[in-house]
Amino acid sequence: MSSARLKGIVGAGVASLLVFGCANLGGGGGMAAKSSSGIPLGSSGPHAVQPLPDRPRFGKAISEADLAAWNIDIRTPDGQGLPAGRGSVAEGKRIYEAQCIACHGADAKGGAVYGTMVGGIGSFKGSPRVLTPGSMYPYAPILFDYIRRSMPMDRPQTLTASDVYALSAYLLNLNGLVPADAVMDQNSLPRVQMPNRDGFLIDDRPDTKAVRCMTNCK
């Protein structure tokens, strides 16, 4: 789903009441309660917390500056949170071949452990759907967020921001989404147009309509 669409849902949403009392033998029913963002919530439990007269407060104040090393998330539709630094396709290729190739293979086409990270664009209407960063990610900053937090698998959260930008540039180039001379940074990365940007639908279940038939059902 596009971020614009989701914002629209956030603006419009009002959580609806749970619907009970569907006929015992009827179909349908389901998860009527939704968040303000339109996400089905399931049932709302009897979970109100009793406020205590002397509500305990054991948290200790911390500044955003003091937790900066942990504050690694990127809001990927617009790149909010992307740090300073920059990296080129060529630098990315060098880092990839030193730190990633053992699992992901040459040119990110798949290796000893994982399948390809290249191609698959246009494959989703057939079978198999080939999932790669190029074919699947709706927003390019997902590359930065994921590589920085999780890769390389044997030493995650050790790459510099510029290393991560370079690897992002390299993988985007292998997928034909940026030119060979591209340089990624906090301004250029969110501007890369990803082919699956509009490929997502928000949860709209229940989508099945099974009926509680008891005799001679088939």
Binding site: S3, L6, V10, F20, C22, A23, N24, G26, G27, G28, G29, G30, M31, S35, S36, S37, P40, G42, S43, S44, H47, V49, P56, R57, F58, K60, A61, I62, S63, E64, L67, W70, D73, R75, T76, P77, A112, R129, M136, Y137, I142, D145, R149, S150, M153, N196, G199, F200, L201, D203, D204, R205, D207, T208, K209, A210, C213, M214, C217, K218
Partner: protein, 413 residues
């Protein structure tokens, strides 16, 4: 079923069959067992109690269908066929990690809440343990449960088809208590949960769910979380796909929109027709499975069997479970065993006199919203079943042949 498991199972089966035959022929005189004629083991106060050595075959197993080439982003499955009741023992609760299990020292671990809050806060484990606690029973299920067995049978046992499922009594602090202390900015609509493991696994969760029933949990089934289940602290988001209940929780951040991480775009999304993907499909829908008799088991000849299994729904309580013995043509309502709790495993049972002829057993659950568990064919009508598909909540058929062999026949019945 592994060779050891199979041997053990066959041994038990043979023993039971022998007893049944003897019973028909008239009981043999009972000898005084050796256990009654000698002292047992003394108490070992320093050891953690473990099951009988005769139960050694009851253990978690990885998938036999998918051969993982590394064991860091991996999963193991609960032996539901051996679980009585609705609670899974801690050593048998399924595992799903994205970068292995860390060993985190609770004395140095910190949880922070920040972002769109009045005052960012950090908590040590000692701090969290001082808050008023709550304990709640809930099912916990991976969204990938059943992904190997959609259209044709690939797995043998219910452990392999449905074992990414466990029943747990969680203990912790309501997330709302901690969020309230930090002071939520009224614009804050989404909440990020992030782990301290090597994947820093992260998900975006709507604020309403966090304030409703999310727990910041440090206990499971009467003891501290196990390392593989998030020690020392994790999120528990009841009724939703397991991976949003982030383990080894280190960070909670409030934002005004979802982050659209890899874990909620490229993964944990559901293929839909026309090349589309369904996103933020969080609720685990109403589902059930017969755990006995189930795939790989062997009936011991015609006669009485208690057919039993588990039912659960992320949308509420279980209202009813129906069981069919003829492949879904006719159904009989099973007995639900108390307690029946919100977003929790519910045990169902129905007596069956097997006449020795082939049968196909199925269960179908209905939840408190009136939603009826679908068949694979029902799901196929509205979603695309292609690749590693999440959210398989389909009716599971088990066939019984004239020899009493029980087999997985998903997609064939």
């Amino acid at each position: 079923m592994a060779q050891n498991d199979r041997r053990s199972f066959l041994r038990k089966t043979a023993a039971l069959t022998g007893a049944a035959v003897a019973g028909q022929a008239g009981a043999a005189p009972l000898a005084v067992p050796q256990s009654a004629q000698e002292p047992g083991r003394i108490i070992d106060e320093t050891a953690y109690g473990v099951p009988s050595k005769f139960e050694a075959h009851v253990k978690r197993r990885r998938s036999d269908v998918l051969k993982n080439r590394q064991n860091l982003s991996d999963w193991s499955m609960t032996p539901l066929q051996h679980q009585p009741g609705i609670i899974t023992p801690n050593g048998l609760i399924f595992e799903r990690h994205h970068a292995g299990t860390p060993d985190i020292d609770p004395r140095t671990h910190r949880l922070v809440i920040h972002g769109m809050v009045k005052q960012p806060l950090q908590f040590a484990m000692d701090d969290l343990l001082r808050y008023p606690s709550v304990s709640r029973f809930h099912f916990h299920e991976c969204s990938g449960n059943g992904l190997t067995d959609w259209l044709k049978p690939a797995s043998t046992t219910v452990q392999q088809t449905h074992g990414l499922l466990s029943g747990v009594l969680w203990t912790g602090v309501p997330a709302s208590t901690l969020m309230d202390e930090a002071g939520i900015d009224p614009r804050g609509k989404w909440v990020l949960f992030e782990g301290a493991d090597g994947s820093a696994h992260t998900r975006s969760v709507p604020m309403e769910k966090v304030l409703d029933d999310t727990l910041i949990a440090y206990g499971m089934n009467g003891e501290a979380l196990r390392p593989e289940n998030g020690y020392p602290v994790r999120a528990v988001i009841p009724g939703w796909e397991g991976n949003v209940s982030v383990k080894w929780l280190r960070r909670i951040k409030v934002g005004d929109q979802p982050w659209h991480f890899r874990s909620e775009t490229a993964r944990y999304t559901d293929p839909m027709p026309e090349g589309k993907w369904r996103q933020f499909s969080m609720v685990m829908e109403c589902k059930s499975v017969i755990t006995s008799p189930s795939g790989g088991q062997q009936l011991k000849g015609p006669g009485f069997y208690e057919v039993t299994g588990l039912a659960w729904s992320g949308a509420g309580k279980i209202r009813a479970v129906d069981v069919s013995f003829d492949g879904g043509r006719n159904w009989r309502e099973a007995t639900l065993e108390e307690p029946i709790m919100d977003k929790c495993l519910t045990r169902f049972k129905v007596g069956w006199n097997w006449d020795g002829s082939p049968a196909v057993l199925m269960s179908r659950a209905v939840d408190s919203t009136g939603y009826v568990q679908p068949s694979v064919q029902d799901i196929q009508k509205v979603r695309a079943i292609v690749g590693f598909v999440q959210h398989n909540s389909a009716i599971q058929p088990w066939s019984v042949n004239a020899k009493g062999e029980v087999r997985n026949v998903i997609g064939q019945a």
